[in-house]
């Protein structure tokens, strides 16, 4: 099966970002926190992407920052995904009171913009990695819940699920063998979208000074550190901004492709 160019590019870039994050220690030319050059030096052979507001190598910080951003985003989207999809499936197949309670709770959470909830609880919460991951995972689980519940409800009314019920199959078989294989593609695409959301969200929080705290660095925080240079024509802040944009667009392209492939399962009758 052929992959369109856009999706292929997206996949290549996504892979590169992840590899860079995993092998950050080997790849980064300079330490994360050492001032090695002058303030806001232009890109050169020594500092490929220049130096930052206190003379640190931007490329190195970008690689280490990517490690933090990607780790936090991956952890929180996995948490959101696991929590959301398990509860969503349970709500869809169980129905009744369980479904009602979970669905109303999610309605309530989604009635408030995620950023506002995050800001309110971050007033009193410690701004640690674990808090951020839990917070983002929980907020995002609501969206995964809605999607997986909707997908599962659509599949649960199919005749083949009814046939399995009439055969006497247990709940486990019905969820894992009848429903899950058919729900997989939209859910995988959703995992990509949730990951993007987490990247954008943690970057935004860090940019606002409420996310990753020093000495750790992430892309959002790097934009914040270097934004002052922009009005003097120093483009340092744009490097991490660009990294965020490229990662998000790449994952989006892959998710888009996965989603477009899900339609191929629905057979149609010609007229």
């Amino acid at each position: 099966m052929k992959m369109p160019l856009s999706a292929l590019l997206g996949l290549i870039f996504t892979t590169l970002f992840f590899l860079a994050a995993i092998f950050a220690n080997l790849l980064a030319p300079y330490p994360i926190d050492a001032a090695v050059g002058g303030v806001w030096e232009a890109p050169s052979a020594t500092y490929w992407l220049g130096t930052d507001t206190i003379g640190r190598d931007i490329l190195s910080r970008l690689i280490y920052g990517g490690q933090v951003t990607i780790f936090v985003a991956t952890a929180s989207s996995l948490l959101a995904f696991t929590l959301g999809s398990v509860l969503g499936f349970v709500a869809a197949t169980q129905g009744g009171l369980v479904d009602q309670v979970l669905s109303r709770l999610v309605d309530l959470m989604m009635a408030i913009p995620a950023l506002i909830i995050a800001l309110v609880v971050l007033v009193v919460l410690p701004r640690s990695l674990i808090t951020l991951i839990l917070l983002m995972g929980l907020l995002d689980a609501t969206r995964v819940f809605r999607l997986s519940r909707a997908v599962a409800v659509d599949i649960a009314v199919m005749d083949y699920v009814e046939a399995a019920r009439l055969r006497g199959e247990r709940q486990g078989w019905i969820i894992f063998r009848e429903i899950l294989p058919n729900a997989l593609s939209p859910l995988v695409a959703e995992l990509g979208l949730r990951f993007i959301f987490a990247v954008l969200f943690i970057s935004t929080l860090s940019f606002l000074g409420l996310g990753i705290q020093p000495p750790l660095a992430d892309w959002g925080g790097m934009v914040q550190e270097n934004k002052g240079g922009l009005i003097y024509g120093k483009a340092a802040a744009l490097m991490p901004a660009l990294a965020i944009a490229v990662l998000a667009i790449s994952v989006n392209l892959v998710a888009d492709w996965v989603l477009s492939r899900t339609t191929s399962l629905k057979g149609g009758r010609g007229g």
Partner: protein, 544 residues
């Protein structure tokens, strides 16, 4: 002879299909078809799905749906070729010289506008007449088509009237601008049989009174025999046979046409009454949140190795009966006895043997099979689940079952999407058989299939019954199917059984009113049937 109104010469129609995940594919939908329609005559286009009949119908307006292109031949309307004519010319003739009646009027009417506005839209647009005259004509057409309160009918919105009325309103919309040709695209297919005959009669009378020519597209030869002067039989986009209606019905030349004419003529002699394997006694049921009973005191019996046909129109409760017997909808009252033991009303508390011996086949084979499982898995699962078969033994048994449903080798590792409609239904039958059931509930299992394919399925079911001695509870709205397969019949109407007995008894007069209406509404494959029925009904109502 005059010049024909519409003359199609060597028409070729092509399209590009875009299957997801695969390279675009070029397909020929219609190949080298020639046909003509004289002024005031009706041509029937008949064929199964994929025959290209709707495509040809739309081509007479030089219209291609989606990426469909008219790539060769001529479409002559009053002598001028409209294939490839410019957009302005086409707009001037569409809705003026040629008009269109769609299969689903419910979808074809704009939900946001009143019916009158839509019915007279083309008449005003093309300047055929002024608004007062157009509205007057619309009202007279409403009256002619037998619509209730014709004066105020047009003030209603599409969702406020019934499906049969919408189909008539669409016919009025097509006739209003006084066109020369009307294309009817399966106008009665979506309707219940008792509604179909009324709409059919209304359309026929309107065609006759206005003297308009028509293309009548359908898959049902018995229907087209009532309205068409000539018939073109199509298959796979090619012409099979072309002749007068009389010739096609009474002396078909081609083998395919003969098969179409003789469809549903399976000869099935009913078996004698015997002790029942299934008895439904006084069953009443209702759905949650609905204030009336969907089933009212239903009592029927079914003997081993026999077939009970449950007949009724949409809303009669026949599918609900199946849900109650399977335990999906527990009955509110009444008793169901199966194989000598009383069945628990609720699915969850039935034994594994109860479940195994009572299997079900669905109308839509597409949605009845998990698209992610192979044929081997689908048929193999009941073998594993009920009999613990595994590995080679299971595979061998699956192959036996595939042989039994006449599919043979090479299908076991295929996915449902790689099968034809008839093959899918066969796999569903094999899955039911795998459980070695005593009773199979067949819910409209042939309704979604083309007539010849449906015939094949019915013959298969009868053979399997003879071999395995399995009983069928056969739910259908189609009386021809009932004649072909039933030993006993229950006629249902609004949740109650109104007539019940052996096939011969149920189908022999004297009838109750509803059964009479139902039976007499089924189109028969002979000329003049429609007039005969209407005449009898008129005399009866005059007699009352």
């Amino acid at each position: 002879m005059d010049n024909p109104l519409l003359e199609i010469k060597n028409l070729r129609i092509e399209a590009t299909a875009y299957p997801p995940g695969e390279p675009p594919r070029h397909v020929v939908l219609v190949d080298d078809v020639s046909v003509s329609v004289q002024k005031g005559r009706v041509l029937g286009l008949i064929g199964e799905s994929g025959a290209g009949k709707s495509t040809i119908g739309l081509a007479s307006m030089a219209f291609g749906r989606g990426g469909v292109r008219l790539t060769g031949g001529q479409v002559l309307l009053n002598g001028r070729d409209i294939r490839g004519a410019d957009a302005g010319t086409l707009r001037a003739l569409r809705g003026r010289e040629v008009t269109y009646v769609a299969q689903s009027a419910a979808a074809a009417f704009n939900p946001a506008k009143r019916l009158m506005e839509q019915v007279i839209e083309t008449t005003l647009l093309h300047g055929v007449m002024g608004r007062p005259e157009a509205e007057a004509r619309a009202v007279s057409l409403f009256r002619k088509l037998g619509l209730p309160n014709p004066e105020i009918f047009g003030a209603r919105f599409p969702h406020q009237v019934s499906g049969g009325q919408l189909q008539r309103a669409m016919t009025a919309m097509a006739l209003c601008p006084k066109p020369e040709l009307v294309v009817f695209d399966e106008p009665t297919t979506a309707l219940d049989v008792t509604t179909q005959i009324e709409v059919l009669a209304a359309i026929k009378e309107a065609i006759h009174d206005t003297g308009v020519a028509a293309l009548y597209i359908t898959h049902d030869l018995a229907v087209v025999a009532q309205v068409a002067d000539d018939i073109l039989v199509l298959r796979g986009g090619k012409r099979v046979e072309y002749g007068t209606t009389d010739q096609i019905i009474n002396t078909p030349q081609e083998a395919y046409t003969r098969a179409l004419v003789s469809v549903r003529s399976i000869d099935h002699v009913e078996k004698p009454l015997a002790a029942p394997i299934l008895s439904v006694a006084g069953v009443t049921a209702r759905y949650k949140g609905i204030s009336f009973d969907v089933l009212k005191n239903v009592t029927v019996d079914l003997a081993p190795g026999q077939t009970l046909a449950v007949v009724g129109e949409s809303g009669s409760g026949k599918s609900t009966l199946a849900r109650v017997i399977t335990g999906l909808l527990p009955a509110a009252q009444g008793r169901i006895t199966f194989a000598g033991r009383q069945l628990s009303p609720d699915l969850a508390s039935r034994t594994k043997d109860d479940l195994r011996e009572l299997q079900m086949i669905y109308q839509m084979a597409d949605t009845a099979m998990n698209p992610r499982q192979t044929v081997g898995t689908i048929i193999g699962r009941p073998l594993e689940f009920y009999f613990g078969l595994k590995g080679e033994a299971k595979r061998d048994r699956v192959q036996d079952l595939l042989d039994q449903i006449e599919m043979g080798k090479g299908y076991i590792d295929r996915y449902p999407a790689e099968l034809s409609g008839g093959q899918k239904q066969r796999v569903c039958i094999a899955r039911a058989l795998a459980a070695k059931p005593k009773l199979i509930i067949c819910d409209e299992v042939t309704s979604a299939l083309d007539p010849l394919v449906a015939d094949g399925i019915l013959k298969l079911l009868l053979n399997l019954q003879a071999q395995e001695g399995v009983a069928y509870l056969f739910i259908t709205h189609d009386l021809a199917t009932v004649r072909a397969i039933a030993d006993r019949i229950a006629v249902m109407y609004r949740g109650a059984v109104v007539r019940y007995g052996s096939k011969t008894d149920v189908l022999t007069p004297p009838f109750d009113d509803y059964t009479d209406l139902l039976l007499s509404s089924v189109p028969e494959m002979k000329l003049g049937w429609l007039e005969g029925v209407l005449l009898i009904r008129k005399m009866e109502s005059a007699g009352n």
